[in-house]
Symmetry: C2
Subunit: 488 residues, 2 copies
């Protein structure tokens, strides 16, 4: 089975597609650019959602739900925002179909044309800030800390499962504050939550930074980002948190009376992560045998396989393990299918990324042990049945820790610095990875670097070392290095 996966060395892009397919995570649908998220893939997203939702709520946020559709005119109200989204949106123009009087089947009913077209939300700032105008009168209504779990649509021309799809699932937080300071703190707090989630749950190390003006969200004053490094040494923007200033408050006329009874515009943030994280997780940890999932996000932690097939003595031990592990909150299954050989099962569960496999064979039972194989390192160990429950619990933690350590090592190996453009270009073209380089701070230079190397400015790291230097392209003075990479 594993042989069906193209190796990373051979064709990285095909390797990714193979894993998505063979691990039953997702597939393309009949609708251009839209994917079907299969149960194995959706279960990972559900685990991500549950954890993120908990973190948002612990930080004082509540969930709400706003309409799927946005009146066309709303989109135009924030000048940069419309620039960013008008060219890639699904437009609803009619509200009825009818049978063609000329007999050619179902057609759009021209009499059911909408007075104003509706846009399927690409993001919800406009409809939400139009609503907040009714919700906010005084400083007592602030802060408003709201999140929404929803689907959004951006008509992308080139799509890939999870990483870039026309429709995707995400959460979008939209908060309103009385002061600039508080709004910036909120954007930073979420930035921190995203980074913690990426490292502690996805085992995916990220660089925390601010976007350059050119890479900012359409309508934001400041965009905070977490950037991860994939195994092809390209960067993945994994989550962004925006300080929106008063841009949307002004566009939608959202004012409040402050404690001194003075009228002022409200300050805003918005922030989101999406099903793209599933793609990031796949690309961070998986190998040529298939998917690797960090235990904290795994739909299934342990698979028990009878060797060579179910038998009373084996089933009895399996049942004991199932009960013991379930009692500890470990998600475990017994693969008692009699029609598949152990080797086939091993490959199948490796492919699907189950973190631990326990093999129970007759000979092992005579010695009162079982064989434990970990997915990340593929090491196998004989473990006494008596201590197996504790062993599994510890091993799940070890795997989680090891995946992060390994990913950090990988990133370290591909973190470069470049002080002249030749070196910069050569690194980007050969190894890739993150390149720390001085930059003169102009959009012009940033775009020229992109043109020449395909590398983009990923971010200006938080707490960046301040050092004198010269822009890698223009030689102009610079006070800090920023992170460049080719990116998804």
């Amino acid at each position: 089975m594993a042989k069906e996966i193209t190796s990373r060395a051979e064709n990285y892009s095909q390797w990714y597609n193979d894993i998505v397919k063979k691990a039953d995570l997702a597939m393309n649908s009949a609708v251009r650019g839209c994917m079907v998220i299969k149960p194995n893939g959706y279960a990972i997203w559900e685990n991500m959602q549950a954890q993120l939702d908990k973190m948002f709520k612990e930080a004082g946020h509540v969930n709400a739900y706003f309409p799927l559709f946005i009146p066309k005119s709303f989109l135009s109200k924030e000048a940069e925002h419309v620039e960013g989204f008008a060219k890639e949106c699904a437009v609803v123009t009619h509200h009825r179909l009818k049978n063609d009087p000329h007999g050619s089947g179902l057609v759009v009913d021209p009499e059911a044309k909408l007075e104003e077209e509706l846009i399927v939300r690409p993001t919800s700032e406009t409809i939400i800030w139009n609503t907040y105008r009714d919700w906010i009168q005084s400083y007592r209504d602030l802060p408003l800390l709201i999140n929404q779990w929803s689907n959004v649509v951006r008509w992308e021309m080139r799509t890939r499962p999870f990483l870039r799809t026309a429709e995707f699932l995400w959460q979008e937080g939209h908060t309103a504050h009385a002061t600039q300071k508080e709004a910036i703190e909120e954007a930073e707090k979420i930035h921190e939550i995203y980074a913690r989630f990426a490292e502690d749950f996805m085992a995916m190390p990220v660089i925390k930074g601010r976007k350059t003006e050119n890479e900012r969200f359409a309508g934001a004053v400041e965009t905070y980002t977490i950037e991860a490094l994939m195994q092809d040494r390209k960067a993945l923007q994994a989550g962004t948190s925006h300080f929106l200033g008063q841009n949307f408050a002004k566009a939608f006329d959202v004012k409040f009376l402050d404690q001194n009874n003075q009228e002022a515009f409200v300050w805003a943030t918005s922030w989101g992560v999406s099903t793209r994280l599933v793609g990031g997780m796949i690309m961070t940890h998986s190998d040529d045998e298939g998917l690797v999932v960090p235990p904290k996000l795994a739909p299934l932690h342990v698979i028990i396989v009878p060797i060579p097939k179910p038998a009373p003595a084996i089933n009895e031990v399996a049942e004991k393990l199932l009960q013991g592990l379930k009692a500890k909150g470990v998600k475990v299954k017994y693969d008692h299918d009699e029609k598949k050989r152990p080797g086939f099962k091993f490959a199948e569960h490796e492919m699907k990324g189950v973190p631990i496999r326990i093999g129970i064979g007759k000979r092992d039972l005579e010695r009162n042990v079982v064989e434990v194989a970990r997915r990340d390192t593929k090491e196998k160990t004989s473990v006494p049945i008596d201590g197996i429950i504790d062993y599994v619990e510890t091993l799940l933690n070890d795997i989680q820790t090891n995946l992060l350590k390994k990913a950090k090592g990988f990133r370290k190996d591909h973190m470069h610095t470049a002080d002249d453009f030749e070196t910069f270009k050569q690194i980007i073209e050969s190894d890739g990875g993150f390149v720390l380089a001085h930059w003169d701070g102009t959009q012009e230079t940033e775009l020229r670097i992109k043109e020449l190397t395909k590398a983009t400015a990923r971010c200006i790291p938080i707490d960046n070392l301040q050092e004198e230097g010269q822009c890698v392209l223009t030689g102009k003075p610079s006070k800090e290095r920023i992170v460049f990479a080719k990116a998804y």
Copy 2:
């Protein structure tokens, strides 16, 4: 505050709208027929989701996600299905906006017209069965037990928050089976889960039954329904589970090889409940003072109010209660706002349906008691602080039980039988409620009854008493009574 609510007696419909508004549950949006679900309303839906999701998973289902859009041609493949949905669907015709060259702002770019229009899903049978064709080859791929949490759009002309909106949130289960028997059992199992959820969690008694042919889902062979009675004595269809036969398998050519290597079409079910349940919950329990929420679905169980305002001794007891109750999983808050009087707070928390209010006053403290008020009966009791945690836990259960009992009593009071049409008509026109009557089994009679009385056939109860009788309209022979009512 409560005075702002219209009484049920005065104007039931306005009462409902007032509650939705004053309890901060939802509001109309700028998009026709689409509502904004506010945090207080969404939290109730989240609790419903969590419980239903648990019940579906315990019954062996997994979640997945299918595209928002359905190619127009898919809709036409099942003849009855298209009849049911083509007239009320949002149609996406373009994928880009552009600036009008004539300067009138943002317009649809005519060059970005889709080759085939996309329908925003009104329900997902078609796109899902088109996908299942790839997933199902042999009996080993069956059963497929899949659920999806999603938003759907049906372009309704007359909308009401939660009860009927153009966009709504729901879950839709879509299962595939090797045999007719197994598919029918699945539809019945879900029907049972819906009824159990309605009674055990929403405290909303329901009649379980089958729909008449006329009231069936478009494309179903059998529709199972749960029907609840609202306080205006109109029925609410609260959830449906459909046995789809092989209709969608045939429309989308989904066949499998059975154990004897014979090719056969797959058997199907689909089933759904939606944010309409929130409307049903509101209408079942609320009163003229505001929302009433069953404890099992309440976002907040207990509100603690200092009387008349926070003070060190009061805060200390409040803190003790907060900790003790939270440790027991009770959701509790302390309303220490110094700017609002107790009376105002009482009215506010009553309005929002918090099941239990605990008032802590100085004089009470001298006697080591607090005042506990329950939202459902409005009874107040002095309770010793020592036993307060247990008292609250028991009381939450009592309230849950009492709400169901009360709702069952109400339903019993408005459950009628009619043996002639004059009586039938008179009951429907005066008291309303459910009317059990004989019917000759024809669509014609059913529609005529609707025309004459506005009452529709709600369902044919499961395990219905078989008795000889005459159709209430035509006098033709009948073997059982079915349930009629005016309905939402």
